[in-house]
Every structure is written in C-alpha cells, then in structure tokens.
C-alpha cells in the first residue's frame, strides 16, 4: 500500500492506494503549518481503511508550498546570483528583469565572473579563482545564505559551474547552499539562471518543509520513503527536494491531470478542468502532461523550466453571463457564488444558473431560474461547448481524435458530447484526483543538451544520450527493468555549423519500492 497526499492552496486531499486502486480517500482544508495537515490526513485515512505503519511502502506528497513562498515573497533566503561568462553577457547581468520587490525579498546580489563556453564547447575565458574568492567574500559580508551559479552554455559543458561551486563553497562554508544552473534548466541563459536563483532562494525552506513532512509521517509510525511530486508528474526523493525545490512548482495542475487520467483509465487524453472562474485544458500523452515549449512567467519572472502546457479560458461555474449577448465570463463572482447567483437568491446571472435552468445540475433553488428563456439557455451552453471544443482542438498536436475527460465542480457546464471529440468522460473519485495523481509512483530522468553531431555518427550519438537519460532515471530510484524512453525530440539549430542539434530525451520507470 502507499499514500498520496496533495497539499493545495485551499484543500488537502489524501488517498490510501493499493496499486492503482483507491482504498480510502479524504479531503479537508489545508492547514497553515505543514505538519498538522499531514498528520490529520493520515489519521483520517486510517479511519477510512485500517492499516499499520509497516503496511505502507511509500508516501507521495504534492505541495504548493514552494510556489506560494515565491508568489508571496515570504521565507526566501538571502541569495546571490553568480554568472560565469565575462567578458560576454555584461549588458544583462543576473536579476536584470526581476520585479523589484522580489529582489528585495531575496536580498538579491548579482555577480559576474570569467568563465563560460561557446556553443561548440570552446572556452570563452578561463575561470579566475581569485575573482571568485573575492565575490564569495563579498557575499559573506552581505549575509548571503544561498548561491545560484550559472555559466554560459553550461548545458553543453557544465564543468566550470561545478568548479566555481567548489571554490565558492570553500569560502562560504558548508551552511551556504549552492545551486547549479545546468541541473535545473535548459538552453536560454536568463531563463535557466532565473529558475536557478528561485531554487536557491527556496533551499532553506525546502529543508524546513522536508523535515516537517518527515517528522509528521514518522510520527504516524510510517518508516517508508517519502517522495514529492515534480512538475512533470514523476517523483523525487526527500534528498532531491532539499536540492531542487523548484521542481515542485507546477505539481498541482500536473497531479490533477494525471489523477483525472488514472481514474478514467486513459493514458492519452485531453483533460478539461472546469473550476469556479476558469476552465483549464491540458493534454496528457502516455500518462504525462504535455509541457510548454515556451518561456513561462512565475511571479513575474521569466523561466524555462518544464511546466504542463495548460490553456485557460475564462469560463467557470461562477462566470457572469451577459444577459444580452449570452457570452460567458471572463468576469466571475468567484467564491461569492453562493450569495450572488440567481439560484442562491442573488441577482447575478452566472453559468451555474444556466446549468440549473437546463436541468444539468440540481443546485440551489431551481425555481429562481425558471423564468429564463430556454432558447437563450441553450444558446449559452452551446457557446460554452463551442469554446471548450475549440480550446481542446488547439491543444492537441494533430488532427487525430482524442478522448476528453471532464473534471471539476464546473464540469456540469459541459455537454455529454463535444463536437469533434465525441463523448465527454467524467471519472469517479474526482474529489481526490489530485492525491491520486500524486500517488502514481514513477520516477524519471531527463537530458536536454546541444550536441555537435559528426556526419555518420548520429545513431551512436543518440544512443549515448538515451543511455544517459536511462541512467539518470535509475539513479532517481527507478526499477531498471521498467525504464522506458517516453519522450524524444531532436531539433537542428539554424545558423550553426557542424550539425549542432538540440536533443531532449526523457526516460521514466516505476519507482523501486523494494518489493
């Protein structure tokens, strides 16, 4: 048996699983402190289905703690950003496009030093240990407790980041955390560096949270390993979280999508999550969310770490309906639905009122919407179906048909059938789908680098990269026999000589639970 817990901003879901079967599921409000929420969730599960600590093989936790800490600019460590690349990159130093309040929140200091590589691996300039020690001394004087190190083209060669990390650590001592950009992001210096700085700023909090989670779980008599969900739907162990907290950032939508898929039994599908204010449409391919190929802004900071590609529409249960045109949203009454919607005695026509008027839902007082013109109601619902259908169509990558899974409280707005896609599936157990998503026990390894491929040696080069990804998955805890390549992408880079090619490989396997 294993336990999946998803700590969201509003609710904490937990499930006790036997393989892919849900033995018990619970849901309650998220508590401000990590420990008591987890304790309560595990105790509730015990009530639902008796177990002892030794029955549990693993505990998987999805959490929004880290992204919330960044968004609220709270509990962030004083952080320095050190970039290797002089004399290049001077015009745009680290932290260049950051919001002022966040630079303040991390007491951000920015340093440039020599080092870095050209696209083909030639050095830009040699590392200058004296320069690095001087920067480190300045960091020490400024009270820096975490350092992010980036280097030009470190996805091509990362040895200078490692070496600089060693020198800085010597000066600052073992209590200062070091985060290296090649371990966190991909090509695109500013975006990779930004993700690394965010990671660095969260390192202290990561240790605190991991300690809190561990204490809570151990206090329940559970000695099994603890894992956290990453953006891509795979797991990381507690030691990894202490080093790379930023990898948890988008685990919320990811766990919701994967949970929806698991409960519906589909590996490849579009997931339409209709909430109170928005409809989020995502795509699951072979059990994993499709990721954005673009830069993503988090708390106003441009980054390029992998996030699930989600298209949001301003349609939800609380969306305000224009009584003239019948258009829905983007304005929403939000949490005031239960006072402002017509069916609750309010005076605002919302999408929920339309669903009730059409007989799709039994919420509030249906007599309060009996006066609505049925042709108008049909028109509003048809328009919603049309917009959702179009969003799903935008998200898919080819004209191949794809099944649609609808989840969320607002999914009563969706019809039984969508044009182009057929029947809309509505899985059971949705209430705890996030926790189910978190409990899916897979780990992965990913490589994303630029390679100069010599003519005639393409196959050989690709095989080496694939092997590297598989090794990484095994190192992360995957059962070697179960590891598969789930994603492979090869993009030639224009204007570069020597067949420079960006190769991205992701390998995923089942978590080795020691059974």
């Amino acid at each position: 048996m294993h336990i999946g817990i998803d700590v969201g901003g509003t609710n904490t879901d937990a499930v006790l699983m036997n393989g892919v079967h849900v033995l018990a599921g619970v849901k309650h409000s998220t508590t401000p402190d990590v420990t008591s929420g987890i304790v309560q969730a595990i105790e509730d599960l015990r009530t639902g289905h008796e177990f002892v600590g030794s029955d549990i093989d693993a505990v998987m936790i999805g959490t929004t703690h880290f992204i919330n800490a960044l968004v609220q600019a709270k509990r962030l460590a004083p952080t320095a950003a050190l970039r290797l690349g002089l004399p290049a990159t001077k015009a745009l130093p680290p932290l260049v496009d950051w919001p002022e309040d966040l630079i303040e929140a991390i007491s951000g200091k920015s340093y440039l030093a020599h080092g870095g590589y050209e696209f083909d691996g030639r050095p830009i300039s040699p590392l200058d240990p004296g320069e690095l020690r001087a920067h480190a001394a300045d960091m020490k004087a400024a009270g820096i407790r975490s350092v992010a190190i980036s280097s030009v083209f470190s996805p091509v060669n990362h040895d200078l980041e490692v070496e600089a990390g060693r020198i800085v650590a010597e000066e600052l001592g073992p209590d200062v955390a070091i985060s290296l950009s090649h371990e966190i992001g991909r090509i695109g210096l500013l975006e990779r560096e930004n993700a690394t700085i965010i990671n660095a700023a969260l390192r202290e909090l990561a240790s605190e949270i991991v300690d809190g989670l561990t204490t809570a779980v151990r206090a329940q008599g559970i000695d099994a390993p603890i894992f956290l969900s990453q953006n891509d739907g795979t797991l990381m162990d507690e030691d990894y979280v202490r080093l790379y907290p930023v990898a948890t950032f988008a685990s919320g939508p990811t766990n919701s999508m994967r949970g929806a898929a698991l409960t519906s039994g589909l590996e490849t599908c579009a997931v339409v999550d209709v909430g109170g204010t928005t409809t989020d449409v995502g795509l699951l391919m072979n059990g994993f969310p499709r990721e954005t190929s673009n830069e993503v802004k988090v708390a106003g900071i441009r980054t390029n770490f992998r996030m699930p590609d989600v298209l949001s529409l301003g349609i939800g249960g609380g969306s305000i309906v224009d009584t003239e045109t019948g258009e829905v949203g983007p304005e929403s009454v939000g949490y005031r639905l239960t006072t402002e919607a017509l069916v609750f005695g309010g005076s605002t026509l919302t999408a929920t009122d339309i669903a009730v008027a059409a007989g799709r839902a039994d919420i509030g007082d249906a007599s309060k919407v009996a006066h609505l013109d049925s042709a108008f109601v049909e028109r509003v619902l048809a328009r919603i179906a049309e917009r959702v259908s179009e969003a799903v169509d935008r998200m898919r990558t080819s004209p191949e048909p794809i099944p649609v899974v609808a989840v969320g409280g607002g999914s009563i707005l969706l019809p039984e059938h969508l044009e182009l896609f057929g029947a809309v599936r509505r899985p059971e157990n949705y209430a705890v789908a996030n926790a189910i998503g978190a409990s899916i026990a897979q780990v992965g390894g990913e490589i994303d680098k630029v390679y100069a491929i010599e003519p005639g040696r393409r196959e050989e080069a690709i095989a080496a990269v694939r092997a590297e990804a598989i090794d990484k998955a095994v190192a992360a805890g995957a059962k070697p026999s179960s590891v598969e390549i789930v994603d492979f992408d090869e993009v030639p880079i224009p204007y570069l000589p020597g067949n420079a090619t960006r190769i991205r490989v992701k390998a995923v396997g089942d978590l080795d639970m020691g059974a």
Partner: protein, 363 residues
C-alpha cells in the same frame, strides 16, 4: 520631426517589429531587454527623420549577425554593440554621426537603439529593408551601389575586424566565417552612407511605423476592436486568409529554417512557404502573394504576431499581405529578393495578387 525613443516605447516597438519581421527574426525578448537596459543607463535616444539628416552626415547600420539561439545563451555586452561603430569611424577617419537599422524585424530593430543610446548618437527613423530578409546584402542601399563594406564586426572578447571587400558577396562570406570562429554571435556595423545617400536609399519612417503598429494592436485590444484590421489599414494591405494551422513541416537546410505550413479555412487551404521569413502564400494552388511583399501571420483574435518558429498545429491565425517598398519591385531588386532567389520557380506576385516582371531578366 524628430522624436525621442524611451524605455516605454520598447514593448510597442518590439511587437511592431515582429509584425514587419514577417515571421523571421526570432524571439525579440533579448533585443528588447538590451535596448531597455541601454536606455535606462544612458538616457533616451533622439530619432531623426530622413529629411532632417545633414547632407554630410556619417550614417552606419548596426546589426547582430549569427544564430539567435546563441544570443539567448551568450548574451551580448554593450561594448560589443558599440565597438564596431567606433572601429568603423576610426577606419573612415570621420566620427560617425548617426546610427540606422539595417532591417526592421526581430532583434535587429532593437540592437541599433542600444547602440545609439550607448554611443549618445541619434538614430534614423528609417531602415534598409522596410521588413526583414535573411542575408546581409538584401538591403535597398545595395540597389544604390552602397556596399556593406567597409564593415566592422566585433565579439564580446574585444576582437574587432574591419573588412574592405570587393563586393557584398565577399563581405558575407568572410564575415560568416569570422562569425562562426567568434562564437556565432557578433555585432556588425557597415553600409557607411552620407546623409544624402541615406535619404535616397533607406526606407523612411520605419521606426515610427513600428511603434505605431505595436501601439495600435494594444489600443485595438483595449477598444475591443479588431487588431488585425487595424494592421491591415495601417499597412495598406489586405487580409489574405483566416483559418486553422493543420500542418507545419520544418527542415534546417543551408542555415535557413525552411518549411511549409498549411492553414485550413472554411472552403480552401492556404500554404505558406518560409525560409526564416514567410515567402509565398498560396491558396489551393493559386499564388496570392510572394516575397518581396510582406506576408504577415497574426493570432486570429489578439493580432499577436507569430514567428515561423512558433507556428504550430491548432493555432487560429489570420494572414495579411502588405506592400513592400516600391523599389523592391524593380528588376534588379527582384533578382536579389524575389521568389527565384530563394529557389521558387514563380513570378513574383504583389500583395494584391497581381503578377509583376519576371526577375533575373535584366539583373
């Protein structure tokens, strides 16, 4: 009338440049950030119109040469942007008085702003193309026998070269080799012109136009009007097609991001052929518009320009055809930038669908 360009104009300008970039030029983010930083550090830049430029002015273009993919990793330094301008001034024996854009599209519309700010020089409200093209010599000054050479190039290390060549082909060949050696992202400055030559050879008003396009897209969105129609009106073009992208094929050959996209409309299919920029728009086998006129792809509702790299299945887009500078329609110009040069055996078609003189006849 001269005007000043400040930090606040950059986002409009970058969006406008992406429209006129006709799909090429890559992500404008780094260039826009570079210009913003330079304006912040050195103050606003004065932009002067072509009729205000003194006859004896010394005008140079500034641009980035190399792979946009490299530039997002090996970010530039401002010294690297100013060095070739200063070096060329030294070589010419006269101080440079004005900076100009070689092309208006992508990163090369913002780098000259950074250069002008850092050098404290005025920028011309003009450019060499009125759009974007992939090769160095594809500028209107070439038609006036103004050569790229002497041309200076520099890297971030402080290496500077000045080329004096026999023609633009040699400039391109030698500069490309140097560019690769220097890490595939260099800053170049060239096409030295007097004020009179610039007045004659450049496309007037392109910077103002760029900012205006960017501004109108945002205003149209605020007014809940149609941003695409605003652009059509501003450029004096026509909407060629509206539909959904159903297929995009790409291959990188000979340094170009070549490819084809198919867009499905209610009754027909549009095929776009591109090599960095969009070159041919063809509806069910009927040619609608070809290079050198502008083929612009915009997001259906927001009017946000979409680069060829960002095109993908499922996008709802609208395609606009717009006239290029009249001088691009002369026979020698068509030999340089017409469909034939890019390997398409087609007569050039104007944005309104009319066929013009076959290129190569008298070039």
């Amino acid at each position: 009338m001269s005007w000043t360009i400040s930090e606040n104009d950059i986002s409009d300008l970058a969006r406008g440049a992406a429209v006129l970039g006709t799909g090429g030029g890559g992500d404008p983010y780094i260039g826009a950030l570079l210009a913003t930083q330079a304006l912040r550090a050195h103050g606003d830049v004065t932009v002067v119109t072509l009729d205000e430029v003194p006859a004896d002015a010394v005008v140079l273009t500034v641009a980035m040469m190399g792979a946009p993919t490299v530039m997002v990793e090996k970010l530039p330094s401002l010294d690297e942007v100013t060095a070739p301008v200063l070096a060329l001034g030294t070589y010419l024996g006269r101080p440079v008085t004005h900076v100009a854009c070689a092309e208006i599209g992508g990163v090369n519309s913002t780098i000259p702003i950074a250069a002008a700010a850092a050098l404290g020089l005025p920028l011309l409200d003009a450019d060499g193309m009125g759009r974007a093209f992939p090769e160095l010599q594809m500028v209107l000054p070439t038609l006036y026998d103004i050569t790229a050479s002497p041309l200076a190039f520099s890297d971030e290390k402080g290496n500077i070269g000045v080329l004096q060549t026999v023609d633009n082909k040699w400039t391109e060949r030698i500069a490309r080799v140097a560019c690769v050696e220097m890490g595939c992202s260099v800053m170049i400055s060239g096409f030295p012109m007097s004020g009179d030559q610039a007045r004659e050879a450049l496309v007037p008003g392109s910077l103002s136009r760029c900012v205006e396009i960017g501004k109108q897209i945002m205003l149209a969105r605020e007014d809940k009007a149609d941003p695409v129609q605003r652009i059509v009106d501003l450029l004096g073009g026509r909407e060629l097609f509206a539909g959904k992208v159903i297929d995009v094929q790409r291959a990188t050959t000979t340094g170009f991001a070549r490819g084809r996209a198919r867009i499905e409309g209610p009754d027909s299919t549009l095929t776009l052929s591109f090599q960095n920029e969009h070159l041919i728009a063809e509806e069910d086998g009927r040619i609608l518009t070809t290079t050198p006129d502008l083929i612009i792809v915009l997001e259906h509702d927001s009017g946000e320009p979409i680069t060829t790299e960002a095109l993908r299945y499922g996008q709802r887009i609208r395609v606009i055809g717009a006239p290029s500078d009249e001088r691009w329609h002369t026979v020698p110009a068509l030999a340089m930038v017409g469909p034939g040069y890019f390997g398409y055996d087609l007569p050039p078609h104007r944005f309104d669908g009319t066929i013009e003189a076959r290129p190569g006849v008298a070039a």
